[in-house]
């Protein structure tokens, strides 16, 4: 049991959600946009397993299709922030001097402002929209990666194997990518998954506030906001999307933890 039971459960949850996101169009029992005002705000029944919302749309179908915005946005944020952060961190750490100072002070500036607040203000000011929110979150997430990578570069630069690589006449770029990067990869992978979680919560939060995805789109955050008013008629319309967000966030966080542990152990043991 090198990976542990929780890892496999978390992986199972994640895989299930991803499969549903891909196949939702065919799998969903109803069209997530189809309104049926006669059957509005109903509780769970054999026809609608999780009931319907105010406009009579099937909650289960909207939940399945809604997993797409729940996965794609956060994944893009995590991937882009990691790539940008890694490149900037390697560059800043290996050049040193003025480059390093300017980069790091800019990073400090971004750090100094609360990210969710900035996202709300910026996205709200620029007229909202899912992709704008994703872009803003990328910019706000990247600094963490810059710091991690730069710190690793600084720490490793003095180690004999880096000195040996320099003695071999390897270029700084090659040393950065071939010798330093593999040693921070476990941390980066774990951090990317953590950023996925943060972005998922942030995007759902923005949707809840009505400045993320456009109204009517099936999205977990937006569903919680839209269905608050029918909480007494069909509580599942709120609980189900909230559970989905929690399940996805927790399982991705658990994966990140385990991947970090196992990957760092690989370099030290055996």
């Amino acid at each position: 049991m090198r990976w542990g039971l929780t890892f496999w459960i978390a992986l199972g949850v994640l895989v299930t959600i991803v499969v549903i996101a891909i196949t939702a169009t065919w799998l969903a029992p109803y069209d997530p946009y189809a309104q049926d005002l006669v059957a509005s705000s109903q509780g769970p029944s054999s026809a609608h397993w999780l009931g319907t919302d105010q406009l009579g749309r099937d909650i289960l179908s909207r939940l399945m299709v809604g997993s797409r915005t729940g996965i794609i946005g956060p994944a893009i944020v995590a991937i882009c922030a990691t790539i940008i952060g890694t490149l900037l961190g390697l560059w800043s750490g290996s050049s040193g001097g003025l480059t390093d100072t300017v980069t790091m002070r800019s990073i400090d500036f971004v750090y100094a402002i609360p990210p969710l607040l900035v996202a709300i203000v910026l996205v709200g000011m620029l007229g909202g929209g899912y992709w704008l929110a994703v872009a803003v979150l990328i910019v706000l997430s990247a600094p963490a990666d810059v710091r991690i990578v730069r710190a690793a570069v600084m720490a490793q630069r003095e180690l004999p194997y880096i000195a040996a690589a320099r003695t071999l006449g390897l270029s700084n770029t090659r040393i950065a990518f071939r010798h330093i990067l593999p040693n921070v990869a476990p941390t980066l992978a774990a951090n990317a998954l953590l950023q996925f979680v943060v972005a998922l919560i942030a995007l759902s939060g923005l949707a809840f506030l009505g400045i993320g995805v456009s109204a009517g789109t099936p999205d977990w955050g937006l569903m919680i906001a839209e269905n608050r008013s029918i909480l007494d008629l069909n509580p599942w319309a709120v609980i189900a999307p909230a559970l989905c967000i929690t399940a996805l966030a927790v399982s991705v966080a658990v994966l990140g933890d385990r991947i970090f542990d196992v990957a760092t152990a690989r370099g030290t043991a055996r």
């Binding site: 003695t167 071999l168 006449g169 390897l170 010798h179 990869a185």
Partner: protein
């Protein structure tokens, strides 16, 4: 020893386990009052665990069984009331509390021992005087304001403050420079004699053990191999392992034609409980050695050894052969590296600290030049300047055919310098990138030659075999290799580029004695057979004697003496060199053949 006066320390059947795995296997020992016992072993032998068990300071998770009696009474640990055991540890810098002054450390122990409040400050000065600190200002200084030797003296004074029956010293001089080490050993010797105190001295260095102690106990894989009076063991070691250890030590006195290490490495204790633990590495092994663990038996009066072959070991195996010194041939070999007026100062808190003050030397083709000095002498700064890892403040470094590249080199110059000089670093554990396989590391180095790498696996395999490792090792990662194996890979990496100069910065300082000799032999081969020039940086005069033909003695950033190695070590001219040579403990008394 009579029945009425129990020995100062008596340990019976002490075993230490960690979660069911045996680490120390039922060892027994005793130390009489006023006697000194050295416990000698390589890393993994269990010597430090034994000391910690005696002090009652085993790390959590480890359990010990057996009895430990101090002056006949069961001993539960240093903090218990009752028989007193003082403890002195290896690293003088972490052993003292950085927020307490030197005087506080001693006063704290004195108060606990019940010395009246008014007498403490006088007593602190008296105790510091006992360890050779006469400057009254030292008591008010913090550990970071003291040198290594001074810190170790303060630590000794506070260990002595409880007036211990036994002092346990765990490698107390390993982290110190040679001359400081000699001073601290001399101090320990006189204090032990004056107080009539017993001493248990843990060390990896047989020379130090012979120098300081009455009796020596050799441990290997958690078991006792031999215990004998020091003089007897030095002159005629009984156990094959002791013989191997002794022959592994590079002699400071004369050149040895072949350096014999002990192949292999120390096994885990729990894997060898039903056989002789040394059998796998022993030249004298017979089938019976693998059938049961040999008992420790009295071979001669007061001499014990755990080997069934004693008496059958042939005399031809007497290891050390000291030959007449080589004559360094002063032929017209051309110079491959010329260093002129090399200076380097570091800027710290606004002021400039000189690390090197105008060092000049030449290294000729095929020459082995040693650079000897203590920590802070600037020897590593020279290495870093030559390797281009730091920029010298002034002076030139001139590689024949490459030109002066002491400034900021471009890519082509870097490649040229790589082919001019390569380095083997000290720490085997961080010299290889933990994430890359051995093959990848070596292939990368091979790619830095001018010709393209055509047969990757073949060339990596050939390189590994050249340094005495199997070609199959290319697939493994550094973490699965022993210290000696990693250092071999580091040498292979350096040789891959086919450099004219191989710079070795203390390449064996972090290795066990039995492994050191193998690495030194390999480096000598590279130098003699392949004609690669060696620039060998070390603090160990024995290593210098065995590997180099010329030597340069460095003291506080300046060259104080230079010349043929044998001449400098046999007849040192400079005052500092003389102190350095005198400070080296020696094994050679009657071993010359």
């Amino acid at each position: 020893m009579t029945a009425s006066t129990p020995p100062a320390l008596e340990v019976e059947h002490l075993s230490i386990t960690c979660g069911g795995r045996l680490l120390v296997n039922s060892i027994s020992l005793h130390v009489d009052r006023g006697e000194s016992l050295a416990i000698v072993g390589e890393s993994g032998s269990g010597k430090s665990l034994t000391a910690r068990a005696i002090a009652g300071l085993l790390p959590s998770g480890l359990e010990s069984t057996g009895s430990i009696r101090v002056e006949g009474r069961a001993h539960a640990g240093t903090r218990s009331a009752g028989p007193r055991v003082g403890l002195l540890m290896q690293d003088p810098f972490t052993m003292l509390n950085p927020t307490m002054t030197a005087g506080d450390h001693i006063a704290e122990t004195l108060r606990a021992a019940g010395v009246p409040r008014g007498e403490i400050s006088g007593e602190v000065q008296r105790r510091l005087g006992e360890v050779g600190i006469t400057d009254p200002g030292v008591a008010k200084r913090y550990p970071f304001e003291l040198s290594g030797g001074m810190s170790q003296r303060v630590a000794l004074a506070s260990a002595l403050a409880i007036d211990p029956v036994i002092l346990l010293a765990d490698e107390p001089t390993t982290a110190l420079d040679a001359t400081t080490q000699a001073d601290v050993l001399e101090l320990l010797r006189s204090i032990q004699r004056d107080r009539g105190m017993s001493l248990v001295f843990i060390t990896h260095d047989l020379r130090v053990a012979f120098d300081l102690c009455d009796r020596v106990l050799v441990m290997y894989a958690g078991t006792i191999m031999e215990k004998s009076p020091a003089a007897a063991m030095r002159d005629e070691p009984l156990h094959p392992y002791t013989i191997g250890l002794l022959s592994s030590i590079p002699s400071t006195e004369g050149y040895q034609e072949s350096l014999r290490g002990i192949p292999g490495s120390v096994p885990a204790t729990h894997t060898v409980t039903d056989q002789c633990s040394f059998a796998a590495r022993c030249d004298h092994r017979i089938d019976a050695c693998l059938e049961s663990a040999p008992a420790l038996r009295e071979v001669e009066p007061r001499r014990w050894a755990a080997c069934i072959r004693i008496g059958n070991l042939s005399a031809a195996d007497t290891p050390i052969r000291v030959h007449t010194p080589r004559v360094a041939s002063e032929d017209a070999r051309h110079t491959v590296l010329s260093v002129r007026d090399l200076s380097k100062s570091y800027r710290l808190a606004g002021s400039s600290h000189p690390a090197l003050g105008g060092v000049s030397f030449d290294l000729r083709q095929g020459e082995a030049l040693g650079i000897v000095g203590e920590s802070g002498s600037g020897k590593t700064t020279i290495a870093r300047c030559i390797l281009g890892l730091t920029t010298p403040s002034s002076g030139t470094i001139d590689f024949a055919g490459v030109g002066d590249i002491s400034g900021r080199p471009n890519a082509a110059q870097r490649r040229q310098r790589a082919q001019a000089v390569q380095c083997v670093f000290q720490d085997p554990y961080s010299t290889l990138n933990p994430m890359l396989s051995i093959g990848t590391t070596l292939a990368e180095a091979l790619g830095q030659r001018d010709r393209p790498l055509t047969d990757r696996d073949g060339e990596v395999g050939a390189l590994l075999e050249r340094v005495g490792l199997p070609a199959s090792m290319a697939k493994r990662r550094p973490a699965s290799l022993s210290g000696g194996q990693r250092q071999r890979v580091a040498i292979a990496r350096a040789l891959a580029v086919e450099p004219r100069v191989l710079l070795c910065d203390e390449p064996v300082a972090a290795l066990d004695v039995s492994v050191q000799a193998q690495i030194l032999e390999l480096l000598r081969d590279v130098n003699r057979k392949e004609g690669t020039s060696l620039l060998f940086i070390t603090h160990d005069l024995g290593v210098v004697r065995q590997v180099t033909e010329n030597v340069l003695v460095l003291y506080r950033g300046a060259v104080v003496e230079t010349g043929p190695t044998d001449a400098v070590l046999d007849d040192p001219q400079d005052g500092y060199t003389r102190r350095l040579v005198a400070a080296m403990p020696s094994t050679q008394t009657r071993q010359e053949i």
